[in-house]
C-alpha cells in the first residue's frame, strides 16, 4: 500500500495543472483540484484504495475573500492504508454544477442531496437530486451566508413520494 505522500505526488504528475495546491493544515492532507477534472481525480483516488467517502461538506466562502465563492470538500479515507485525504473544489457562484460521484460511492447519494439542499450545488447525473433536510416547498438554500437565519417558511402539506420511487 503506498503511503499518502506518494499518492499525492502520483496525482500531481498525472493530472498536472488540474491540481491547484496540496498543503497540510493542522496535519490533514488537503488537495485542491480544479472543477473540470474533479471526477477523474476522485475516481483515480477510488482505485488507489480510498474506499470510504466519509463526507461531502459545502462551504460558502462569501466573507473569506477567496477566488471563488463556494467550495465543496470531499472527505476520503482509505481503510487498508489508514490514510485520510480531503479533496477541495472551488465552485463559482454563477456555474454551480458538478459531476456526481454517487456511482463511485453509495454514501455520496445523500451527501450530494444535502449539499444541494443547503447550498444549491447541482450534481449532474445524480439519480434523485431533491431536497433532503428542508421541506419540498422551501425556497432558497438555507446555509448560504446571505440567507437570513430567522426566515422560516411554512409548509402547507407533506410531499408525495411516489415519483421518488422510480427515480432512486
Amino acid at each position: 500500500m503506498k503511503d499518502l505522500d506518494s499518492i499525492i505526488e502520483q496525482v500531481k504528475e498525472r493530472f498536472g495543472d488540474a491540481v491547484e495546491s496540496s498543503d497540510r493544515p493542522f496535519g490533514d492532507a488537503v488537495l485542491t483540484v480544479r472543477k473540470a477534472r474533479i471526477r477523474d481525480v476522485l475516481s483515480h483516488l477510488r482505485e488507489e484504495g480510498f474506499d470510504f467517502l466519509l463526507d461531502i461538506a459545502g462551504v460558502d466562502g462569501l466573507h473569506l475573500g477567496r477566488c471563488e465563492r463556494f467550495e465543496v470538500v470531499y472527505n476520503l479515507y482509505s481503510l487498508a492504508g489508514d490514510m485520510r485525504l480531503r479533496v477541495k473544489v472551488f465552485v463559482p457562484e454563477g456555474d454551480m454544477n458538478l459531476p456526481t460521484v454517487s456511482d463511485l460511492w453509495g454514501s455520496a447519494n445523500w451527501a450530494e442531496r444535502e449539499a444541494y439542499d443547503m447550498f444549491g450545488f447541482v450534481f449532474e447525473g445524480h439519480p434523485n437530486l431533491v431536497r433532503i433536510l428542508c421541506h419540498r416547498e422551501f425556497v432558497g438554500h438555507a446555509l448560504r451566508k446571505d440567507y437570513p437565519i430567522m426566515k422560516g417558511q411554512w409548509a402547507t402539506g407533506t410531499s408525495d413520494l411516489k415519483p421518488d420511487l422510480e427515480r432512486e
Binding site: 430567522m150 426566515k151 417558511q153 409548509a155
Partner: protein, 173 residues
C-alpha cells in the same frame, strides 16, 4: 366501595348512587392513553418516565398508543420544525374528543434555543396546548406532574355536552 374522589351516597343495602358525570370523569382521569409525539431528546426522557423507576403507570398514562384514534392525550416531546408541522396538525385533528395536549420541553413550548429558519417557535402556533413543561429536557417527574395537571383539569370540566367550543380557534396555516 372505597373509590375516593367520587361523591357517593352509601346505602345500607350496599349499592351506591352517584352522578353519571362523576363516573365518566373518574374513568377518563385515570386512563389517559398518550400518543407520544417524541421527535427529539425529550423523547428519551419520556421513555425514562415510562420505565419502571419513574413509572407513569401509577397515573394510568402508561399505555402508549401510536394512532390518534385510540389516544386522548398527545405529548409533543421534542422539536417541531416546519417540515413536521403539517403532520402534527393532522394528527391533532384526527384525534377524537376529548383530547388534551402536553407540550414537553423548551423546544415544543417556544422553539428552545433553536431560534432559526427551521424550527417552529412553539407548537401553540399550530395546535392549542393544555399544559406546557419547561426544561431541556424536563425531568421525568416534571412529565408526571404535567399528567397530574391534566387530571386536575379534567376534574374542573363538564364531562358531557360541547366542550370548550370557543377554544377550537385553529389558526391553521
Amino acid at each position: 366501595m372505597g373509590v375516593e374522589g367520587i361523591p357517593v351516597t352509601k346505602h345500607e343495602t350496599g349499592f351506591i348512587t352517584t352522578r353519571l358525570d362523576e363516573v365518566i370523569r373518574w374513568g377518563r382521569k385515570n386512563s389517559l392513553w398518550p400518543l407520544p409525539y417524541a421527535t427529539a431528546c425529550c423523547g428519551i426522557e419520556y421513555m425514562a418516565a415510562l420505565s419502571s423507576i419513574f413509572d407513569i403507570a401509577r397515573f394510568g398514562a402508561e399505555l402508549v398508543r401510536f394512532s390518534p384514534r385510540q389516544s386522548d392525550l398527545i405529548i409533543v416531546a421534542g422539536t417541531i420544525n416546519y417540515k413536521i408541522g403539517p403532520v402534527l396538525k393532522r394528527i391533532y385533528d384526527q384525534m377524537c374528543e376529548p383530547k388534551y395536549v402536553i407540550s414537553m420541553g423548551a423546544c415544543a413550548c417556544s422553539g428552545g434555543f433553536y431560534d432559526n429558519y427551521a424550527t417552529i417557535q412553539g407548537i401553540d402556533q399550530i395546535i392549542p396546548v393544555d399544559v406546557f413543561i419547561p426544561g431541556c429536557p424536563p425531568r421525568p417527574d416534571a412529565m408526571i406532574n404535567a399528567v397530574v395537571k391534566i387530571q386536575e383539569k379534567i376534574d374542573t370540566e363538564p364531562q358531557r355536552g360541547p366542550r370548550r367550543p370557543e377554544r377550537e380557534r385553529e389558526r391553521s396555516r
